[in-house]
């Protein structure tokens, strides 16, 4: 039941855009997004609740497609600071407050 993240890795130049997808085979209540820099703790980015919500955080935004059980994270005009591993955490209602995390997407932004 682990969600599938794609791509596994992506390399960008500064200023380029990227999309990271998170797909589930089960109905979702919410999707959480986190970023982890090398050697650091994962840091919360945003939560999307079912209902097709779209949220934004500076130049990082995300959408949740309830029909497809998929969430996408959009990184616009990427900066060097965006480098890291991005994880989606999926929340299936019957699991209570627990999340199931994807394997992660490694993002590297080059100057």
């Amino acid at each position: 039941q682990q969600p599938v993240q794609s791509p596994q890795a992506v390399i960008l130049r500064e200023g380029e855009d990227a999309v990271i997808n998170c797909s589930s085979s089960k109905a979702l209540y919410s999707v959480h997004w986190y970023r982890q820099k090398h050697g650091e703790a994962p840091v919360f980015l945003m939560i999307l609740l079912k209902g097709g919500e779209q949220k934004g955080h500076e130049k990082i935004s995300a959408s949740f497609n309830e029909k497809k059980q998929q969430s996408s994270l959009y990184l616009t005009a990427s900066q060097l600071s965006y480098s890291g591993t991005y994880f989606c955490g999926t929340d299936y209602m019957e699991y209570g407050n627990k999340l199931v995390f994807g394997a992660g997407t490694i993002l590297r932004v080059k100057s």
Binding site: N97, A103, G104
Partner: protein
């Protein structure tokens, strides 16, 4: 800001030893979690606690146990350490969401890199 503190950044133990990993949070969160992080596998939930003395198994509980005697502290115990438990261990906490599902972010500690020799 929420602070989740794990007792050690690096730990080296021998096979067969009983190992304790400690985690403390300072924001009065009801939920606390222990994850294991391995390359290519993401974060896998070992155990979860939503209240003092309450615990639920996660996806990979075998070989582990937990203890939550106080709200702010959640301990992970490796009963008899084995080499396949060499990994990065992450603790997290969050507020509880009683309506089911989760709309509360999880706050992570810096992790403990555990090596079992």
């Amino acid at each position: 800001d929420v602070k989740v503190t794990q007792s050690s950044r690096y730990l080296v133990k021998r096979t067969g030893e009983k190992v304790f990993l400690e985690c403390v949070q300072d924001m009065d969160h009801e939920n606390m979690f222990w994850y294991r992080q391995d390359p290519g596998l993401g974060l896998r939930l070992i155990y979860f606690s939503y209240d003092v003395k309450m615990k639920e198994k996660g996806d990979i509980p075998e070989g582990y146990s937990v203890s939550r005697e106080k709200k702010e502290r959640f301990s992970l115990i490796l009963e008899s350490a084995s080499t396949n438990q060499t990994s990065m261990y992450l603790c997290a906490s969050s507020l509880i969401w009683l309506q089911g599902g989760s709309n509360q972010p999880q706050h992570f500690g810096d992790g403990t890199r555990l090596s079992i020799l």
